[in-house]
């Protein structure tokens, strides 16, 4: 029974990692851009929510609604004025620019908020749990997983059912031909990064309510997100969810054996998948 419990906790943790990863997966799927500042942007989102909570006395779950449009605007501008300039065949410029951005963000947060760890207040929600049979399930982890599934459903709807989604896919296939359809690739990319930042804000909400955070925790979130994306297969959103769950499961199982092995087990699970399925579990046919 204790193992069943561990597995359930692992799956729930996977929901958090899937949320970290969904934005990364979206941006990579559309413009082949790997944003090394992704984890730090999640942390930035958490601080933005914290700021709204402290200054306006909002609940974090309301503050996220204010923070999300701001983060959308930030993502849009970041893409439009900075990252679009370095997109191209050479992978080095976008990597280095986002790596630089990661360092700037970490240190700006350090300067603004100090290295003290913070937590978003949840009025008892963080410790609430419900009983499912013999297993105790935390309300917040459950909400995280449900949110992750919802985010991926909504993203898939946008991707496959809307005019914007068609433009995303067309631009991803061939930006020059897309421009012959009247699509402005620079704007499409900016909107995509904006949407990714909305997901980042949602991920930040759960990052900050479930555990402590400080300016230095971004890179580790980037790595978990990256592992989930690779395991799932580049560009597959459901694959990303599964990838997140696999990392979550591996970490929880590892921690059950020895708490020091938690992070290591996740990384090793990633390497094992890479060994067996180099292109991930659901590689897309078109690449």
């Amino acid at each position: 029974m204790i193992w069943v419990n561990t597995i359930v906790q692992g799956i729930l943790l996977g929901g958090l990692y899937a949320l970290f990863a969904a934005g990364l997966s979206l941006v990579f799927g559309i413009m082949r851009l790997v944003n090394l500042a992704h984890g730090d942007l999640i942390v930035l989102g958490a601080y933005l929510i914290l700021l709204l909570v402290t200054l306006l006395g909002l609940s974090p779950f309301v503050a996220v609604l204010v923070a999300a449009p701001a983060m959308f605007a930030l993502g849009w501008a970041l893409q439009r004025y900075m990252l679009n300039r370095v997109l191209g065949d050479d992978i080095l410029p976008p990597l280095l620019v986002t790596f630089g951005l990661s360092i700037v963000l970490q240190n700006a947060l350090l300067e603004g908020f100090s290295a003290d760890s913070q937590r978003l207040p949840t009025a008892g929600l963080a410790s609430a749990s419900i009983e499912l049979g013999a297993i105790n399930v935390g309300v917040l982890p459950l909400m995280t997983l449900v949110t992750a599934v919802l985010v991926i459903v909504v993203l898939n709807q946008i991707f496959y059912r809307t005019r914007l989604g068609r433009a995303f896919r067309a631009t991803s296939d061939d930006a020059v031909t897309a421009s012959l359809m009247g699509i402005k690739p620079a704007n499409i990319f900016a909107v995509a990064t904006g949407i990714a930042m909305i997901i980042v804000t949602i991920a930040a909400l759960y990052l900050g309510t479930r555990a402590n955070f400080d300016p230095s925790v971004g890179p580790a979130r980037l790595i978990y997100a990256f592992e989930a994306v690779i395991i799932g297969g580049l560009g597959s959103l459901w694959g990303t969810l599964l990838g997140g769950i696999i990392i979550g499961l591996a970490q929880t199982l590892g921690a059950a054996i020895n708490p020091e092995w938690q992070i290591l087990s996740g990384h090793i699970a990633f390497l094992l998948v890479l060994l067996v399925r180099p292109r991930g579990l659901f590689p897309r046919a078109v690449d």
Binding site: R32, L33, V34, L36, M82, R85, V86, I91, L92, P93, P94, L95, L96, V97, F99, G100, L101, S102, I103, V104, Q106, N107, A108, L110, E111, P219, L222, I223, F226, E227, I230, L234, E260, I263, L264, H267, I268, F270, L271, L274, L275, P278
Partner: protein, 359 residues
């Protein structure tokens, strides 16, 4: 079109600037070797820092600038090289000076499984893949209780007193043991950096260098003309790890204190190094030399400002990448045409141009 008259043309690599630079370089190297005789211990320590960062930067430049392999996991090789030195000297009683070489070998060995996994990842994902592997190595080393686990350990005084050559240096310069260790570390750093630069320059001028630039520019095209691209990438990756591992071992021999978080720090051993290469000019040997000097000056000026300093470094790095992607040396070289380490083969015509187009 007229046929090129073969006897009147030569293929040349050297330029007049490079010949001058070779003479100036020789003088500088002699001065650097003699430096312990006339500079302060403090300056020597600064020079040690500059040299080791330059060595790491040259190795990363070989990978990313020439090999197209953008790794952000080089801290794995710094850390493992350093831990190999601590492990072999503390646990096996090997003298730390030869253990530097062991550090390089162990790093090169680690590079084999690293490449095996990371080469499965294309482009940008290769970068994060190397980072993940560096994290794995850090977490594993933190489990190594005999070397202090997560908190790390120090080189015992009994070992530090036994460094090769330090007694000779003490006699030669009439200095104390601690100062003699600094001089030793400085000389070793100088030798290492010169070997790394020399090795890279030799590689780039050889046939392999041509193959390498073909691989970087276009993997598919390089394959189609018969360059064994994959083998080239393995070779570059393992060589860079070997150099990085030796430098890592030397850095921590001089520090005499190690911990997993410090030795596997992505900021100290990869972010700074990338900054140095990018700001100086990626894909050139001159670039990292310029870059490390700029980096050192910025650090000297701004180190007191803590996180502002790092923010400024990040902003400068981004600005260079956006507006001068070939770095300071690229700007200078474009304007003047000067190359100190020329690797391009040029066709030299001693006569006036005679290939007027016909047709």
């Amino acid at each position: 079109m007229t046929l090129i008259n073969a006897s009147s043309h030569r293929v040349e690599i050297a330029t007049s600037a490079s010949r001058l630079a070779a003479i100036a370089g020789f003088v500088i190297v002699v001065l650097l070797f003699a430096a312990p005789a006339f500079v302060s211990r403090r300056l020597l320590q600064d020079l040690f820092f500059i040299l080791t960062m330059l060595g790491l930067a040259q190795c990363w430049n070989l990978l990313a600038g020439y090999g197209g392999l953008v790794s952000i996991g080089q801290q794995a090789f710094v850390g493992i090289g350093a831990y190999a030195l601590f492990g072999t000297s503390i646990l096996l009683g090997v003298n730390p000076v030869p253990a530097i070489l062991i550090g390089g070998v162990v790093a090169a060995l680690l590079a084999i499984p690293t490449a095996f996994f990371a080469f499965r990842l294309a482009g940008a994902y290769f970068a994060i893949g190397t980072w993940v592997i560096a994290e794995i190595v850090r977490l594993l080393v933190a489990q190594w209780k005999m070397l202090g686990g997560g908190t790390g350990t120090s080189l015992p005084n009994s070992i530090r007193r036994e460094f090769w050559f330090t007694e000779t240096i003490q006699d030669l310069f009439g200095v104390r043991a601690a100062a003699s260790r600094d001089i030793l570390a400085y000389w070793l750093a100088l030798i290492l950096v010169l070997s790394v630069i020399g090795g890279i320059y030799w590689l780039l001028r050889s046939r392999r260098g041509l193959a390498l630039s073909a691989v970087r520019d276009n993997l598919q095209a390089a394959r189609s003309v018969g360059v064994d691209a994959l083998r080239m990438r393995w070779f570059v990756f393992i060589s860079a790890a070997f150099g990085t591992g030796m430098i890592g071992a030397l850095i921590y021999m001089q520090k005499a204190r190690i911990s997993p978080d410090a030795a596997f720090s992505v900021q100290d051993w990869t972010a700074y190094v990338i900054f140095i290469v990018v700001i100086g000019g990626i894909g050139t040997i001159e670039g990292p030399i310029i870059g490390v000097l700029v980096f050192f000056i910025l650090q000297a000026l701004l180190a007191d400002f803590g996180s502002w300093y790092l923010m400024i470094l990040g902003v400068i790095g981004i600005a260079v990448m956006l507006f001068a992607p070939r770095g300071l040396w690229g700007l200078f070289s474009d304007r003047t045409g000067i190359q100190l380490f020329p690797i391009r083969r040029r066709l030299v015509r001693p006569m006036i141009s005679n290939d007027k187009r016909e047709g």
